[in-house]
Symmetry: C2
Subunit: 242 residues, 2 copies
DNA sequence: AGGACCAAATTGGTCAGACCAAATATAGGG
DNA sequence: CCCTATATTTGGTCTGACCAATTTGGTCCT
C-alpha cells in the first residue's frame, strides 16, 4: 500500500514512515531538499510540498539553513493513523488507548447532550435509543443506529473541541479497523444494559447517568476488542475486504 | 498580528482566516492557484505550499480540475487555535469546551497513571503533590509544579493518544490564554481538596478517586475561568504582555 | 425541449533552472 | 584555544513551461 496518486504525497508518505520508524533521532538534521529531490528522482517543488506536509504533522521543523526532526510525541494527532498502519496490523496497545480515550469523550458528549437537550431533542434521542435496541441483533446492523445516536448527541452537545478530536480519531482509526474487518463480540447483556440505562437517563434528564452508561459500555467494548485482536494475532488471516 | 515570516505561510494564514470566517460555503469551488497567485502577487509555487497546508488542516480538498472547500467541522483539530484567534479575543464558549475536554482527558490520565504506577512512581507522584501544596500560594507559582504533576502522570499512563491530543490542545490554547494574560481566581478550598484527595488516592492506589478529584478540580477551574472571561469582557483592556 | 456525447478551456501536478537571504561550516588571525 | 570573517550550504521564492484530469460548453441526436 504505497499511498496516494501524487508524487509529493508519495514522498511525504515515505519520509513520514521513516521518521515514524525512528530512523532519525529527535533534533537530527533532515536531508536537504536537493538531496531528497535527487533521491526520489523528483523536482524540488514536489519535495517541498512533501516537507510542508511533514511540517504540518509536527514531524520536522524547517528553517533556512536546514530542517530538523522533532520529537515524536510533540507531533500532531494526525500521525496516529500512519502510526497504526506501520506494520500492517494495529498495535493492540494503541487501539486500547484509542478506545479508552474515545470512551471518555463519548461519555462527556452524552452528559452534555442529555443535560442540554430540549424536550424535542430528548424525544429524538429516545427514538434513537429505541432504534438501537430494535436493530441490535448483530454487530453490523447495530452500527448505523449507534452511529446515529452518537452523531445526534454530538450535535446537541455542540462541543466543537470534542467534535474535532473525534473527527481526527475516527478518520485515523475507524478506517483501519474496518480494513482489518474484525468484529468484536459484545457480551449480550452489555447492549441491553446500555439501552436501559440510557432510557432512564433520558427520562430523568440525568446527564451524569448517561455519561456513566457510555463509559461502562465502552469499557466492555474495549475488552471485547482486545480479545478480538488477540484472536487475530493467533490467526493472522488479515483479509482486506474493501 | 499577520502571521509568519514566509510568504506561503502568510497566504495560508489569510486563506485559512477567510475559510474560518465562513466566506465560502462548504462545497464551494476554491479560487484557482493561478488566480490566488495573482491576487497575492506571489508565485504559484508559494500558493501551492499554502494550499497544501490548508489541505492538511482539512479545510479544502484539492483535485485536478479544482479545489473545493470542506465542511468546517470535518476539519482537523489544528484549526482550534486559529479559530480562537479570529477576533482577537477567545470565544468564551470555546474556552469552556476546551477546559471541559481537557478535564476529562486529565481525569483519564490520572486514573491510568495512579493505577499503573510502580511503587517508585507512586512515591514520585506523592512528592509532586506535596510540591503542589507547598508552592500553591499564588496562581503563577502554582503553575510549574502543577504542570510537572500532569507531565509525570502523562508519562506514567503512557497513553500516546491522549498525549497527542493534549499536545495539540495545549499548543492551541495555552498560548492564547497566556497572551491575554488573565489569571482565574481559584477558590481557596479547591486546591486543598484536590491535594488531599490526590494524596488519598495515591496512598490507596485508587485511580478512580484520582480521576474524580481531577474532574472536580477542572470543573471548578472552568467556573473560575468563565468568570475571568466575563470580567475581561466588561473591561476590554486586553493587553498583550509578550 | 431534453439528454447523451464530444471538443475546448481550465485547473492541479510536476519539472527545470535561477536568484536571494539566512544559517551553517570553514579557514584564518588573535 | 577562541573568536571572527569568509565561503558554502540550505530553505524560500520566482518564472515559464508541459502534462493529465476535470470542467465546461456546445453540438447532435432523439
Amino acid at each position: 500500500m504505497p499511498s496516494s496518486n501524487t508524487i509529493s504525497h508519495e514522498i511525504a508518505y515515505a519520509l513520514r514512515d521513516e521518521i515514524l520508524r525512528q530512523r532519525y533521532q529527535s533534533g537530527d538534521r533532515f536531508p536537504s531538499e536537493r538531496d531528497l529531490a535527487a533521491r526520489f528522482d523528483a523536482s524540488r517543488g514536489a519535495v517541498r510540498e512533501a516537507l510542508s506536509q511533514l511540517e504540518q504533522l509536527g514531524l520536522i521543523r524547517t528553517q533556512p539553513g536546514g530542517a530538523r526532526v522533532q520529537s515524536l510525541n510533540a507531533a500532531s494527532l494526525a500521525i496516529l493513523g500512519p502510526l497504526l498502519e506501520l506494520d500492517g496490523h494495529p498495535d493492540p496497545l494503541l487501539v486500547d488507548q484509542f478506545l479508552q480515550t474515545f470512551g471518555v469523550l463519548a461519555a462527556l458528549t452524552a452528559k452534555s447532550a442529555v443535560n442540554a437537550a430540549s424536550p424535542e431533542q430528548l424525544i429524538q434521542l429516545k427514538k434513537l435509543v429505541v432504534d438501537l435496541k430494535d436493530q441490535a441483533n448483530d454487530y453490523e446492523g447495530m452500527q448505523p443506529p449507534w452511529r446515529e445516536l452518537l452523531e445526534a448527541m454530538s450535535a446537541i452537545s455542540d462541543n466543537l473541541v470534542v467534535r474535532l478530536i473525534s473527527n481526527d480519531l475516527k478518520a485515523q482509526f475507524v478506517g483501519q479497523m474496518l480494513k482489518l474487518g474484525f468484529r468484536p463480540d459484545l457480551k449480550k447483556g452489555s447492549r441491553d444494559r446500555l439501552v436501559t440505562t440510557l432510557r432512564v437517563s433520558l427520562n430523568e434528564q440525568d446527564g451524569e447517568r448517561a455519561s456513566q452508561a457510555m463509559q461502562d459500555h465502552f469499557e466492555e467494548f474495549r475488552e471485547a476488542v482486545g480479545e478480538a485482536i488477540r484472536f487475530k494475532a493467533d490467526k493472522p488471516s488479515n483479509r482486506v475486504v474493501n
